[in-house]
Each structure stands twice: as C-alpha cells, then as structure tokens.
C-alpha cells in the first residue's frame, strides 16, 4: 500500500530555508505571503496491505530515520 509521511520542523525551531524563501518571493513580486516553513514529504510504498501494520512500520521508520525528533515532528497519512 501507499503512504505519505510529512516531516516538519517544530514550531519554535528556526527555519532558515523558509525565511530565505519568504524573502525571495517578496523580491520576485509575489505579494501576500506572510510566512513559509519548509518540510519534507516522503512518498512510500509498502509491501503490506494491512493499514495497522503499515502505520507501525512507518512510525518505526520515522523514529529511526525519517524524522529528527529533536527538532522535527512527523505525520503519517495512509493513501491506500
């Protein structure tokens, strides 16, 4: 089955990339963007068809590798 994992910086953590993008959008004349924060998305294909099992595998993957839980939080979405 397919799943999507979103990994984003915790809100108190500085996001230098987001800051640089905000500045660039302003100077490119894209108005009305008040804040940008950048994160990562992982499109994952799993062998299992079982949702609970998939969720468990992805949680394990996030804790071990995909997210740096000191500064990032993650969200798992099963796509089917």
């Amino acid at each position: 089955m397919k799943a999507r994992v979103l990994v984003t910086l915790k809100s108190a953590v500085l996001d230098p990339q987001g800051k640089a993008i905000e500045g660039a959008l302003r100077s490119l004349g894209v108005p009305g963007v008040s804040s940008v924060r950048q994160g990562k998305v992982f499109d994952v294909e799993l062998e299992t068809g079982d949702a609970a099992k998939a969720e468990a595998t992805l949680k394990d993957a996030c804790e071990k590798l995909l997210a740096n839980t000191v500064i990032e939080s993650y969200r798992i979405e099963l796509v089917g």
Binding site: P16, Q17, A20, I21, A24, S27, L28, Q38
Partner: protein, 232 residues
C-alpha cells in the same frame, strides 16, 4: 579582457575566481552585486562564482537564478557574450534556463572535496583552447549537489552536439558512470551552450592555478579566455 564576477548573498568563491582571473590577465575583474540591473559597460566575460547563494536553500541556485542581474546576464549570453558558471554558478545557470538540466544531490548524499580527473572533450571552444583535445586534467571538486541530471532527450542532444566539455574519468582515462564521484549522468562535469559561449562546470579550475598551493591545471582555462578576448 573585461570580466565581471557576480556576487550573490552567500557566494563564497568569488574571491578565488577573481584572483585567478587577475593572475592570468593582470586585470582585476569588476565585482557586480546581484541587485544591480546592468553589467559594467564593455563586459566580455561574466563569471558566476561558487558558493552557497542564499544558503543553497530551496534548491541550490534557485533563488539566485531569479536575481535582478540575471536579466542582464541573459541578454549578454544572447549577444554571444561569454559566461562561465562554476559550481554554484553552474547550478544557477541551470536554474535560470541558460543551460539545460539540473544538479541534484550527490549520489552518496555527502559533500565531497577532492581532486577529480577530467577529460577535456574538445579544445575548439573559447574555454579550452589552451588544452590539448582529450587531455586529462586535475581540478578539485567541492560540492554537495553536483550530480548532473537531465532527461534522455536532453542528454542525447548534448552528446550529439558535442556539448559535454568536461567529463569525470578514471585514472586510466576511461569514463565509468557507475563509479563517478557524484553520480552525474554520463559522467558530466561541465557542459556548454549551443553557441559554445556559456560554460557551466562543477569542479573548480580557479583553485588550481597557483603552484604555491597546489597543481596548476586550471590555469589554461583562464588563459584560453584571455587569449580569445585579446584576439577579439
């Protein structure tokens, strides 16, 4: 020769390339700020230096490619003016559409600083006149995202038109795409535009020009440019 070196926030090898240019031509290049809208009058050569413009944030070279000065660079290139993008400069040229393809993260995902062996594929360009055709030269690389990628059609076109100017090779002179240090397609280290006036390359010829600090294989690239421009 009148050279202009662009400076973006986060550029950091602008000084190295300016020194190399001065070393071979005796003339200090003009340093041009990214927010300017025009190149100094009479500019022959525009150099986009290495570095981490805008911190390499978003995608390397992406934000710099949209800087004000790039309009002037586009016009200069369209007139047939010479443009040299090194490392981050190459990334910017790709992001700005002046060269095809894109540079993505090294296949092994690590930054890599080491000497690389390159084959000079042809010497009938303004950048390589002082090299022998097929010469093997040593330039250092220092990049995290030098993995050249393009779709099959683009790659074929580049090869058919002979626009791969520098290629990573093994010590015996043969290319080995499976072992290339950063994963670049067809072991591509540098490509030129259709009119041969725009060169983007990942390695740093400007760091191999001075015998006090290392080999000098990069010198001939700058000497080629000086030679071309003095003749003109």
């Amino acid at each position: 020769m009148k050279a202009a070196v662009l400076v973006f926030p986060g550029s950091n090898r602008e000084g190295d390339v300016a020194r190399a240019l001065e070393l071979v031509s005796g003339v200090k290049p003009a340093m041009v700020w990214h927010a300017d809208t025009a190149l100094p009058a009479g500019t022959d050569l525009v150099v986009l230096p290495g570095g981490f413009s805008y911190g390499d944030y978003l995608r390397c070279g992406a934000i710099a490619a949209r800087a004000a000065i790039m309009e002037a660079v586009r016009a200069h290139a369209a007139r047939g003016g010479l443009v040299l993008g090194i490392c981050n400069g190459f990334q910017i040229l790709c992001e700005s559409g002046l060269l095809p393809g894109v540079l993505v993260r090294n296949a092994r995902l690590r930054f890599i600083c080491r000497e690389a062996l390159l084959k000079v594929e042809r010497n009938d360009t303004p950048f390589t006149r002082r090299y022998a055709r097929g010469a093997i030269v040593r330039f250092p690389v220092a990049h995290g995202e030098g993995n050249y990628t393009a779709d099959a059609t683009t790659l074929k076109k580049l090869e058919d038109e002979g626009r791969v100017l520098f290629r990573y090779v093994m010590p015996d002179g043969h290319r080995d795409d499976a072992q290339v240090l950063n994963g670049a397609a067809n072991s591509i280290a540098g490509i030129v535009s259709e009119k041969l006036n725009v060169l983007g390359l990942m390695p740093h010829p400007e760091n191999h020009v001075d015998p006090q600090v290392g080999p000098t294989d990069g010198r001939a690239l700058f000497e080629s440019l000086v030679g071309v421009l003095e003749k003109a």
